[in-house]
Symmetry: C2
Subunit: 254 residues, 2 copies
Amino acid sequence: MGTTQLETVPEPKYWHLKTVLSEALDTDFSVGEILPNERDLAARFGVARATLRQALEQLELEGRLHRRRGVGTTVAPPRVDVSTSQHTWPGAADDVWQPADCTTATIAAAPAAVTRMFTGVEGELHTVRRTRTTHGQPVAAELLYVPAASVPELPAIEAPSGPVRARSVLRELQRLGLDGQDRAVELGSARADDAKELDRLPGAPVLVVTTRYFAQGRTAAVSVATYRADTCRLTFGDSGDLEISHHGPAAHAS
Amino acid sequence: MGTTQLETVPEPKYWHLKTVLSEALDTDFSVGEILPNERDLAARFGVARATLRQALEQLELEGRLHRRRGVGTTVAPPRVDVSTSQHTWPGAADDVWQPADCTTATIAAAPAAVTRMFTGVEGELHTVRRTRTTHGQPVAAELLYVPAASVPELPAIEAPSGPVRARSVLRELQRLGLDGQDRAVELGSARADDAKELDRLPGAPVLVVTTRYFAQGRTAAVSVATYRADTCRLTFGDSGDLEISHHGPAAHAS
């Protein structure tokens, strides 16, 4: 446990400790097990508390540890593979997202980054809030932005907000034929409202997936989905066939 | 500047400050500008240094600020869109990666996560190190794992390591017909060697893109690419046509 493969590279002390701890997690601990407290761990590895804390932060960033107030530090299970091919045309029959709410305001009132994606589109903007769970755990919170121009036949007589309204917007969106989509992934920090839904603290690192949906030669909708970076690994497949292989890698290697 | 859209949501003090600061970056500062020091900023916004520091950390995570030792805190330019469709079959004519080195060892000696992806494959494993730059800046460092079984005709007489060897491995890999590939993205922390190439400190947040290449019914190669999370936004397109749209969003909206 005292050696690493990185001995030729000069490295900070906490980094060496992180490597040693990572090996210890493999051999001496099992998933879900609570680690000894920081004082005991620091003594066991002969390091200062500050060094230990830096190493634990690294391991949390890499998804090896979960740290929760009141519970302590536990050994994390492997990250869950979450397929982004599930970002199908919103509201399609195989859609995994659960609509929770819908609000309406002008496009100009949206966050600047969203307004920019709808350059040339004017009028009102429906914001549908949806969530995605895997094995009963929340993994992502989404804001789906739909310009009123994309759902011109949306009835005005219904409830102005709430899940019923959200489902109406999604149903109307299905009338448009999807021309294509693109996606981008970047690092972000959880907003307070997303953090609450994801059972995280505000500011926790998240993977932000922005999907633009194109129909009739313009941007018909934009999805900004916030995935837990600690528990999720996002998968992208070239084809439907390959998508299956994410869950059975051995089939390809045999 | 003193109001936010989140007033109905209970939020920590540093979070509110982050929102206010974010708006100030838009209106009062330009890209590349050095922010006032922490003491002055804390005084200007009437908060404790610790609160200010938390808010600055959030903004760094979101790619709004760069913090570098000796330079201070500067306003970051928008993140660069980096296309992952460039993870073509390694060594192809349009390959953007620059080979830097190649080493050879047994598959069993590779990191456990890599060995697992080659279940059923035995023998030696070539590890090609490559880098990717955009606009002269290093954006990613890659380890490309190629089992000897995928390049059976690789000449043994050449140099056993170095960029010449790396190019030979890539050239031989081209003889295999690619059946398909899949990709996964997750949050990680920069290893000391990657950090050096990316001009970051070890442990800096990175986006790790793992690509598996399939040929002849098995995993022919695996790429583990480490992208700077502070400066990069990874793009994924459905088709070649759409890929172009990443750099011209206005064309779709008009």
